[in-house]
């Protein structure tokens, strides 16, 4: 289908790029991205993906908007406090771009629902804040052969990696098992600069766009680390682990499972 004059205008800054063009923009319009977590990372990612014209965006989160979220979760506004995050996110995305479809999943993602949830999507974006969820998303994406972007942020630091099926190491290759509850600080306990979500969440959106249009080098086989205080970006090479429990040569994890959810003590 040819792009309408309105679409040509809305997406002109994309289309004018030789790496995108009308072809790339049509790929973006036809693409489906699932964002798990409508928080510090998911908020900026969702804004940019909606603005870019990603045709179908799924957003999963069980929480409601809290006043303390607004320091960084830029998709929600003050009148949204108390509203389901997925609905608040959907309203903002559709206000930016009424042409896209936003599917909302107001639920915690767990082993019982994750395979069905990711099945319809081309790319998954992990914007969760806890390790059981990060390992669950990793395992499910490896098993379902779905590419995904992992990210984490804390204080003045952030990290990011992209998994592409059969191409690179997975999150479990690097980190093996979730740490025990409270062994590693999360941003609730440790704090985070709001703009960190903007930097790292936007990079996740960028990886999704590059994957969709099939251009450039993805962050597969590397962990990007960002230290804002030192203003230092580093790409650390990641070896693929042949005995990885989920993506290795003889995997022992054959279906997704839940680690006991660490109840965050505030």
């Amino acid at each position: 289908m040819a792009l309408s004059n309105e679409q040509l205008e809305r997406y002109s800054r994309h289309i004018i790029l030789s790496e995108v063009g009308a072809k790339g923009q049509k790929k973006i319009l036809d693409s489906k991205v699932l964002i798990i977590g409508a928080g510090g990372l998911g908020a900026p990612a969702a804004l940019y993906l909606a603005a870019a014209g990603v045709g179908t965006i799924g957003i999963a989160d069980a929480d409601e908007v809290d006043l303390s979220n607004l320091q960084r979760q830029v998709i929600h506004t003050t009148p949204d406090v108390g509203k389901a995050k997925v609905l608040s996110a959907q309203e903002t995305m559709n206000a930016i771009n009424p042409q896209i479809t936003v599917n909302t999943y107001r639920q915690f993602v767990d082993a019982s629902n994750i395979m069905d949830l990711i099945a319809d999507y081309d790319f998954i974006l992990d914007g969760t804040d806890n390790f059981p969820a990060k390992f669950l998303i990793n395992d499910a994406c490896v098993l379902a052969k779905k590419p995904f972007s992992h990210a984490g942020i804390i204080r003045f630091k952030g990290q990011l990696m992209t998994y592409v099926p059969d191409k690179g190491p997975c999150y479990r290759c690097v980190f093996r098992e979730p740490p025990p509850p409270d062994a590693v600080p999360t941003c609730r306990q440790a704090g985070v600069i709001g703009a960190m979500g903007g930097v790292i969440g936007s990079l996740q959106a960028m990886e999704a766009i590059k994957y969709i249009i099939g251009k450039g080098d993805l962050l597969t086989g590397y962990l990007l680390t960002y230290d804002a205080l030192k203003m230092d970006f580093r790409k650390v090479k990641l070896p693929k682990v042949s005995n990885c429990a989920v993506c290795g040569d003889s995997p022992s994890i054959l279906k997704p499972f839940d680690y006991e959810q660490a109840v965050c003590k505030v």
């Binding site: 792009l3 040509l8 205008e9 002109s12 289309i15 030789s18 063009g21 009308a22």
Partner: protein, 85 residues
Amino acid sequence: MADYTIDETVDITDVVCPVTFVKAKVALEELEDGQVLSIRLNDGEPVQNVPRSIKEEGHQILKLIDNGDGTYNLVVKRITLEDQT
């Protein structure tokens, strides 16, 4: 006497900058290498800028015809650049 055959036409008089160029570029993208596109465009800013932008993309301008009604027809041959897909 024309030494070319027009394969496709596009009218960009219904849009304004920068969509003028974008619409022409998209129409060119959909052609095969060597095919010819006739672009109908307005006098003024479009006729000043669009031919230059198309040339910068590496395509070949064959002719600019003044229609005498404030519009022009720009005849362009598509040239595929290596970094275009």
